[in-house]
């Protein structure tokens, strides 16, 4: 069916561009033994949490005195979520972000924050499409 094909294409694309890595495949394997909404839930959680973290990061970095420890902690959370979901690009950007953080360079951090934000939003939009397609596929298979 078309939705399924689109989904496959999308996923292939995401893997190819480095947005997703092998961990996502692991999730897919896990998905088989779990509830049907497993992937959808994980992706949704990631998107929500990720957005929150990025906003918090922006707030912290825009303060006159940046608390790099907090920034660091937030980064680890984002990095952890990304790693768990398989969001490779976001994760790698976080790693770079950490370096700037350790150097306590605000501008470096702000720049990297922008990169992270872009990567994240890119991934998120693709995830949203993925979720929709999955639902279509699921609905399709339910009917038939």
């Amino acid at each position: 069916m078309e939705a399924k094909m689109q989904l496959n294409t999308l996923m292939a694309n995401m893997f190819a561009t480095g947005l997703l890595d092998d961990q996502f495949r692991q999730l897919q394997i896990l998905h088989e033994g779990s509830s049907p909404d497993f992937i959808t839930e994980i992706i949704t959680l990631f998107c929500m949490e990720g957005e929150g973290i990025i906003n918090d990061l922006a707030k912290l970095l825009n303060k006159p005195f940046v608390d790099f420890n907090k920034v660091d902690t937030l980064l680890y959370r984002l990095q952890g979520s990304s790693a768990t979901v398989g969001a490779q690009r976001v994760k790698d950007t976080c790693i770079q972000f950490h370096k700037f953080c350790q150097d306590n360079t605000r501008y470096g951090c702000l720049d990297t924050l922008d990169v992270v934000r872009n990567d994240f939003y890119d991934l998120r939009s693709k995830f949203q499409i993925m979720v929709q397609l999955e639902q279509q596929v699921w609905t399709f298979y339910r009917k038939h």
Binding site: Q23, R77, A83
Partner: protein
Amino acid sequence: MFDLVISDVHMPDMDGFKLLELVGLEMDLPVIMLSVNGETKTVLKGITHGACDYLLKPVRIEELRNVWQHVVRRKFSNRETNNNLDFCKEYSKNPTTDSYHGLSQVTSGSSDQGNRASKKRKEPHSEEEDEGDDNDAHDNDEPSGSKKPRVVWSVELHRKFVAAVNHLGIDKAVPKRILDLMNVEKLTRENVASHLQKYRLYLRRLSVVASQQASIAAAFGGRDPFLHMGAFEGIHNYQPFASSAGIPSFNPHGLLSGVGAAAFGLEDLAPSKAIQCASSNGAVSHCMGDTNKFHIANLQEKNQANLAQGLTAPLVQPQLQQKWIPQETSDLSSFFSGSALANTMSGTLQRVTSSSFPPVELLECTQIKVGAHSSIRIPSASSGLLERSVGLSPNLQDSSISQQCAIPIDDGFSVNKLPLHIPFVDVSTTKLDASFVVPEQDMDQKGKFPERVTVLPYESLIAADRSKCGTRSSGSTMLLLSDTGRHSKYLKFGVASNSRHGMDEMVNGSFNYNGGASVPEQNDVYDFGISKLQGGFNSSSCSFDGLLNSIIKVENDDVPFADNDLGCELFPLGACI
């Protein structure tokens, strides 16, 4: 119940390592850390905080399949002292326990079989659940910890514990290592873990109290120790022990300073401190402070109008934090306050009584404290004693309390008089002037104190704080005094230590057993005698035993110690020593 905890390291509300410590100690569960941060120093931090394992994100499912090992391993080692063989049999004979089939496998390190076996069962459940189920099944016969004989933390035991903790460093002290250092048979890691947890809570409380006291002390400046007490006492709320601060040296060799302090991580608690305290005006405070802190902490936790709080508060000695010793001075009660006993009450009472504060102040103090627990009564006795001791607290002499108390202590201060019943409310203020001997009938009100300790000053103290009288019969703390014989000794002890704290502190378990200053190191607390007050405040030994007994007794009676206690109840005063 749970068998395993997997926790993230970087969390918004709490640091993962802190959670690791808390959970590990409080619940004695294996904790696995999880993080994307794989830096060596971070992983090392996890290990030193006691994590069983440290997983890196993204976590592979295969790694998760192995986590049951940690549960089994822990249970296995916990059962070392109990029926090891049985445990093995239990696991091996159960055919359905695939995952445990390999208890031997586990120990031999081959986890594959275990994994495979457990895999089957794990499909519908998470691994943790399965482990939990299995463990439950196996644990029916031997529930981990629930059927273990209760360990009584004697003074000696606690002393060892504290020494071990100090040796390792309070931050690095993990139950396993403490256990190794203590080298006590039949003591399990779980026992140590729960004890350590209480100890840590106690220390935290002390630091809270200390800081509070410090502020208060700062306000008062360098007053005579006894004056300190007075000063504190002046502060109605919880001064009580503060005044005892004057009595600093209660630190019976080590009661407070040694064991107690050490145990609780009071940095500077040196056994000799107590004695020094006595002599130095300022010194006092720290003792008091600590106890105060302790009490305060305890008190605060307890919603009751714990006098102890009052006591702790006043103590404000700047140095308090370090000294557990203050407890010595201030109050056993404060100590006790910490402990479940009346925690607050007892502490306060003791403080009040023990301190050599000017009578008035004492009264004030006691008032505050007294209210809290009936157990505090004892302090009054001690205060009486203190007064007797005279040597220590000149102020006491002057204080009305002392006057009143003067009596008994040597005379037989009937310890029994201690009004145990909690509501001090009963004590009328008028009693202040009356002899401190509390009518015996008061004692039994709460029923906790079989024996009354006539703590004369105490009564007055009690009277003072009627409102505070809680209904708790913190008898447990008082228990120390409950024994007649003990009481007298204790009283002496308390008095000797010129600080009410002696009693209180001991009770509070803060090990501050200030115990009569004069208490010789001997374990026989009873022989302190007031005369010794002037001498070193060894007290620790003296009253410790008594306190210890009381405490033990209390424990046995299942006195509901507040959780906030440092677990004083666990540590009989003797521990302080």
